[in-house]
Subunit: 309 residues, 2 copies
């Protein structure tokens, strides 16, 4: 149980933090938010989602946003895609640096509602995904497994599927010469607990010592940061998080936002795990987002931080 | 690192959760809140504070509240006291079940502002406290050390004082034939981190294997529940918490409320540590308090919980 010395943080706020907001944020404000994050030291930012503009009004400006954001050196900018069409649209922009990700879940009900697919369909379509990635000059990089610790529709029974689903995807990709470098466990509805996270991370690291295990945590029942700490204790060194803890999931009723990036980064730094993130920049970004959304965000650190210069 | 099978929770919401609220809550509403908590399975409730009514308007009705609350069987009702006069006033009510507590801190600046005293004065006055307790027919029960992990005024330097202050109080009380049964570490400003909590709980349990180590945690920087988990990992089995996570500290600028009782209880139950608390009762209590205060509370569980019957 040694906490990693370095932690990689993926900022998903501009996409996941905003996607459930009933207030559609102006493109200019999204660009300003991305600017705050771009100069914070965070190394990857998911700026939008490749969904149908008529389905998610908040994402209706995604093409404009992708065309206009001001990239900072050393930062990877990506957009979430849930199907091959979305991946193609992101690639066509020529401005994103998406890696090749496969998205599945332990819950087929979730997959059906979220992306109109199933785990079986995803496994069957792996070769098509890989050929898309190759055509775009990308290696297959990672696998994300959603509803890893519970599902709003199927409950906690899906937890038993985590290891088999992970094993099947890793095996299938390995057989096709494309073993994933990263396996991300998404606690989509925030029903994970520290002990579940510890066990899952520990089990997966033991099975796949060559694959990075990362965590995408939601704070629905208040255990989000405790779950992150539990992951750190087992050596997880890569986390998704959202500025100010903004967000939720449109397809999972009751889910709260991701853990707040600045709360996570504060804890990591205090535990000796460097993130490269400037907390002051994040406090500014979270305060700006709070102003734009006109509502207090769930994050704690940004609300009480005084300058730590 | 074995998580305790049973955890004792002290509800401090009616006192600490309300004391910083700018809205003075009607006595009737306080009584209703106490009723929700009384029937939740929680075994101790701090219902008010023995401060000067003209100093803390929220506590101006404390004598009336103490006279009128409806005790449930098996529940201990207490009021916080910071000086001997307060203890005497609580005793005089004849309706409270306070135990004998000594309150000190690692920070003299905090003690000066919070209770107009110092650690030295507290050590000097121990015999007077003990004689007050004896006169009231009470044993000396516990010691609380505030600002255990940091202080708004003196910063993190006070952390080094935690073990010496604890040792001095335990030694002094033991020499007077009144060794404490419990040592409570209060993270008054919420600057604790999981590793600090683990180390402190581990160190104190090693020094004082016969004394229960308990935690009073604030969630100022988002690590409150992670700190509780860290404490559980080291065997801490007693926590203060506040319904809905309501509260703050009037003498510590920027401090957020205690960890939310229902978030803590949810995590404990999921980790196999029984609290005896009905989450449904707490969800009702938190929703009631939210309505009374007219503001969203920091707790997470109560906002998204569906019935778990």
């Amino acid at each position: 149980m040694t906490i990693p010395k370095q932690v990689f943080v993926r900022e998903v706020g501009p996409r996941e933090g905003l996607q459930t907001s009933s207030k559609v944020v102006a493109t200019e404000d999204k660009l300003k938010l991305i600017d705050f994050l771009s100069h914070s030291g965070v190394k990857e930012i998911e700026i939008t989602s490749m969904v149908r503009p008529d389905r998610v009004p908040q994402m209706a400006d995604s093409d404009e946003l992708i065309a206009r954001f001001r990239p900072a050196p050393g930062v990877r900018y990506t957009a979430l895609y849930l199907n091959r069409k979305g991946f193609a649209r992101a690639e066509a922009s020529g401005r994103l640096m998406n890696e090749g990700w496969i998205y599945s879940a332990t819950s087929d009900t979730f997959l059906s509602k979220n992306a109109n697919t199933s785990h079986r369909d995803i496994v069957t379509s792996l070769s098509e995904w890989l050929s898309d990635f190759r055509a775009a000059g990308k290696a297959q990089h990672g696998v994300m497994i959603s509803t890893a610790f519970g599902c709003a529709y199927e409950g906690s029974a899906v937890r038993d599927r985590l290891l088999p689903v992970a094993q099947e995807l890793v095996d299938a990709l390995s057989q096709q010469g494309s073993r994933p470098k990263e396996l991300s466990l998404a606690d989509t509805v925030g029903h994970g607990t520290p002990e579940l996270v510890r066990k899952a991370v520990g089990d997966l690291k033991a099975r796949f010592p060559d694959i990075r295990i990362s965590l995408h945590l939601h704070d629905t029942r208040g255990t989000g940061i405790a779950n992150a700490y539990a992951g750190l204790l087992e050596g997880a060194d890569c986390f998704d998080a959202s500025v100010g803890g903004a967000g939720g999931c449109p397809f999972t009723p009751g889910a709260a936002g991701n853990i707040a990036t600045e709360d996570l980064a504060y804890m990591c730094e205090e535990l000796g795990a460097s993130t490269g993130i400037s907390l002051d920049s994040y406090v500014q970004g979270a305060k700006f987002l709070e102003q734009v959304l006109g509502t207090r965000l769930p994050g704690k650190y940004y609300r009480t931080a005084r300058s730590r210069a």
